[in-house]
């Protein structure tokens, strides 16, 4: 790491490291009219540290607004998990956003953090080391593993790093699930060792009864304590990464990101910077892992598999790769709305209805923000409503099974579903016995049809596209109510995350808060 550069007078012209078009994008944004333009202009005038302080204060107030009852513990846990993901997204942002390296083994460092903490402070091996000792140790080991892993691919094109790290992530999962019967070539008994197999990782069952975080006699045991510990970790990591991003190293990372070859020609130490980015990301991930292991009081292999990696990637990409605030925003959005909002059942009761609100709300939000002017929007919304009612009438008149299917309001209850449910049942044509296994054919046809429609929509323009939106929204509602809502915490969630990755990359590669990349040829 390099020291921060000496303070310079504020440059008046284009900033160094960004070309003129990019440098002036703020000015152009300010000239935008309307309410959004005025809000943006006002937001631009607020100094960034103040925004940061307000965000942190708002986060810190969350637990104070809740009493420690059973329900609030759930909401606090949602917040803590969101913060752990924010930490993970910040760490991944170093490799992906700053340096432009596709680190697909990132999940393994998270796992190393969790398993490291679990092994060193639990009953597993009878070690109960304190957190002030374990956390730095585990973080350092993880960073070292990251460096070693990036080493073989350092001389090669960035893509090799992606394969090596992806494979490493898989290997970590294999070791975690198979590590309960480790033996030295099956020869333990013959070599005079005390048992045939060693149990290192607990295999598929993981390691349970892990100690709470504690140091110098103090132990964090309440849900609030973990919220604050994680918040402090996020703030610290955010600050460190902001400084790193502004340092000479940060500028060199950006150079590497934009053009590795040109950076090398300018005598930027490309290889060392790649190693550093992967290593720093690994350290942050391991920190998140230790917190997660202490929070769950255990380390279980399925928390550290490729699906979680995709979740973290979706967070970083949605928020905008390279933007730290974007990473935190993406993590909070995805983990609150997609991981928790779509969950059908929680400790405090059934929440299938929430998934319904999130789903239709997201569709409405996308339509409202992308379709202008409002007359066109009104026509499309009206068309959607009318289309549903007409289809409902036709189906009710022609089919035997009719349209009196009930809604799924909990994993195994089917009801009318209140006012929203009434609206949905009038709009969609849900046949009787919608949720029986035999109805899957209709769901499959509708889902494939929906995908085909959406793909066609990207090919046509103008009124044709508007016309396609109407059946597409209706079909989306149909597949959601017939099957997706049942699997909301499983395949549905991952399916939507995959869609997010593709759509963000195709439509807005810079994400919500990122800066658009301009290539000068």
């Amino acid at each position: 790491m390099s020291e921060t550069p000496p303070t310079q007078p504020e440059p008046t012209g284009p900033r160094i490291g960004a070309d003129e078009w990019v440098a002036r994008s703020d000015e152009r944004a300010e000239t935008r009219g309307g309410i959004s333009g005025r809000v943006r202009a006002w937001y631009e005038r607020v100094p960034k540290p103040a925004v940061f302080a307000v965000a942190v204060a708002a986060g810190a107030l969350v637990p104070l607004l809740t009493a420690q009852t059973e329900n609030d513990i759930y909401f606090l846990r949602v917040g803590t998990v969101a913060l752990v993901f924010a930490l993970l997204a910040l760490g991944l942002n170093v490799a992906v956003g700053f340096a432009g390296l596709l680190d697909l083994g990132y999940i393994a460092y998270y796992g190393i953090g969790a398993y490291g903490y679990a092994m060193l402070s639990s009953d597993k091996f009878g070690l109960h080391w304190e957190a002030w000792l374990v956390i730095p140790l585990v973080v350092a080991v993880s960073a070292l593993v990251g460096l070693l892993l990036a080493l073989p691919s350092r001389r090669l094109v960035g893509d090799y790093l992606a394969i090596v790290t992806l494979f490493f992530g898989q290997i970590f999962y294999i070791i975690a699930t198979q590590g309960y019967r480790v033996s030295f070539l099956g020869l333990n008994k013959d070599l005079g060792l005390d048992r045939a197999n060693w149990d290192l990782t607990g295999g598929p069952n993981g390691i349970a009864n892990v100690d709470r975080l504690g140091a110098f006699g103090l132990t964090a045991s309440s849900e609030r304590a973990y919220f604050y510990i994680t918040l402090v970790a996020v703030v610290l990591v955010f600050a460190v990464l902001t400084l790193a991003n502004r340092s000479r190293t940060g500028r060199a990372w950006r150079a590497l990101h934009d053009d590795p070859l040109a950076a090398q020609a300018m005598s930027v130490p490309v290889n060392w910077l790649k190693l550093l980015a992967v290593g720093l990301g690994a350290a942050v991930a391991a920190l998140a892992g230790t917190i997660n292991a202490a929070l769950l009081q255990g380390a279980f292999p399925d928390d550290y598999n490729t699906q979680v990696l995709i979740i973290i990637y979706a967070m970083v990409v949605l928020g905008g790769a390279g933007s730290l605030a974007g990473a935190v925003l993406g993590a909070v959005l995805v983990s609150v709305f997609m991981l928790e909002g779509l969950r059908p059942q929680t400790p405090i009761g059934d929440l299938t209805g929430n998934g319904r609100w999130v789903f239709y709300g997201a569709i409405l939000l996308v339509l409202v923000t992308t379709i202008r002017p409002w007359r066109r929007l009104a026509a499309i919304l009206g068309g959607i409503a009318a289309f549903g009612v007409v289809v409902h009438a036709i189906v009710a008149a022609t089919t035997e099974r009719g349209t009196d299917g009930l809604l799924n309001t909990a994993p195994d209850t089917f009801e009318e579903g209140g006012p929203l449910g009434w609206l949905i049942r009038q709009w969609l044509a849900l046949p009787g016995g919608t949720y029986e296994v035999g109805s899957r054919t209709w769901f499959n046809v509708a889902l494939v049809g929906l995908i085909a429609l959406v793909l066609c929509m990207t090919l046509v323009k103008g009124w044709m596209r508007d016309a396609l939106i109407i059946p597409a929204v209706w079909l989306a509602g149909f597949v959601w109510e017939t099957r997706l809502v049942l699997e909301a915490s499983g395949p549905t969630r991952l399916l939507l995350l995959g869609v997010i990755l593709v759509v963000v990359m195709v439509a807005r590669p810079q994400g919500i808060l990122g800066r658009p990349r301009v290539e000068i040829v």
Partner: protein
């Protein structure tokens, strides 16, 4: 442990010549499979410099298409057509379906990024998204439980009886897989070497921009590349079903990762290299199952990958290309 125990120990491991040959044949069969998939990775990488993570999922969908054709024709136990016709139709449908899927993926997930001149990492993330999307789509459409090919029932089991060729004892199924792969490879080699499209593909892979300046329709070449690569993956999908008897939504990710390693080991961008890499990885995996442990076969593949990256980064057949500016 004395010498006698050591001998007994290795006898436990069935360290006999016949056992070795059996593992070799199993490895060649697996290797043909990996090689076919690796070609798709290698061809796309050669032209677009893109790791097509979704390729493994195309393979998985091909395997499902083969399964559905088999079920539609009455299943393996009681096929409504002669067994040869059934297998031919399975291959045909899987290759056409997978090929079209590959073209659709290219059209909607990669081409928009190419037209926008997005950063290098963007298509990779998009590919990752497509891969996950297809995997979970398969879970939703077909269920996460494995579908049984039940190929043991073909012709009351004769498909899996062995014949002896020289020192090898080989099942008809293995013979069939290896022969089909060789035929597809020969066809592909002739296509690339002799036809005009093949020549355009070689030119594009050599230098995309120069090729487009010479009047080659690069977009069309890319579509053909995805079509061929995905069709081969579809064929491999049916073979996978015949070898392992079942297909599940997660098979694409696992096999795709190994096949990609095969492409790297063989020298990415080189078609004979992909085949050779596939055979090397297939034999390595078969031996690690036969002699060490089946849980750690992926670890062994990973070790091979790291060793190659350290010792010979351009792979078996690749030539190191200096980066031009």
């Amino acid at each position: 442990m004395d010498a006698f125990q050591l001998v007994a120990y290795f006898q436990d491991f069935q360290l006999t010549w016949d056992y070795f040959l059996d593992q070799l044949v199993a490895g060649l069969t697996l290797g043909s499979l990996y090689g076919l998939i690796a070609i798709g990775y290698s061809m796309v990488y050669g032209i677009l410099k893109l790791l097509n993570f979704a390729h493994g999922e195309v393979f998985m969908i091909g395997s499902y298409i083969g399964f559905f054709v088999l079920t539609w024709l009455g299943g393996a136990a009681d096929p409504s057509l002669p067994i040869v016709v059934v297998i031919a139709l399975m291959f045909l449908a899987a290759m056409v379906g997978a090929g079209l899927l590959g073209v659709v993926i290219e059209r909607f997930a990669y081409r928009p990024l190419r037209e926008k001149r997005a950063s290098r990492i963007a298509p990779l993330i998009s590919a990752l998204g497509v891969s996950f999307f297809l995997q979970q789509l398969a879970v939703l459409l077909f269920g996460s439980a494995p579908k049984q090919y039940d190929a043991f029932s073909f012709d009351s089991g004769s498909f899996f009886t062995s014949i002896t060729i020289g020192p090898f004892e080989i099942q008809y199924m293995q013979l069939f897989v290896i022969t089909t792969t060789v035929c597809l490879m020969v066809a592909l080699t002739i296509f690339i070497a002799r036809t005009q499209v093949g020549r355009a593909m070689r030119a594009t892979s050599f230098d995309l921009e120069a090729a487009s300046m010479m009047g080659i329709d690069v977009d069309r070449v890319i579509v053909v590349t995805f079509l061929i690569g995905s069709a081969l993956a579809g064929a491999a999908g049916v073979m996978n079903g015949l070898i392992f008897q079942n297909v599940d939504p997660y098979v694409g990710f696992q096999v795709g990762l190994i096949a990609f390693t095969a492409a790297v080991v063989g020298g990415i961008g080189s078609i004979p290299g992909a085949m050779a890499g596939g055979l090397a990885i297939g034999i390595g995996r078969a031996f690690s199952v036969g002699y060490v442990s089946s849980s750690y076969q992926d670890v062994i593949v990973f070790v091979i990958l790291i060793a190659f990256l350290l010792l010979r980064p351009s792979g078996l057949f690749g030539t190191p290309v200096p980066q031009k500016v």
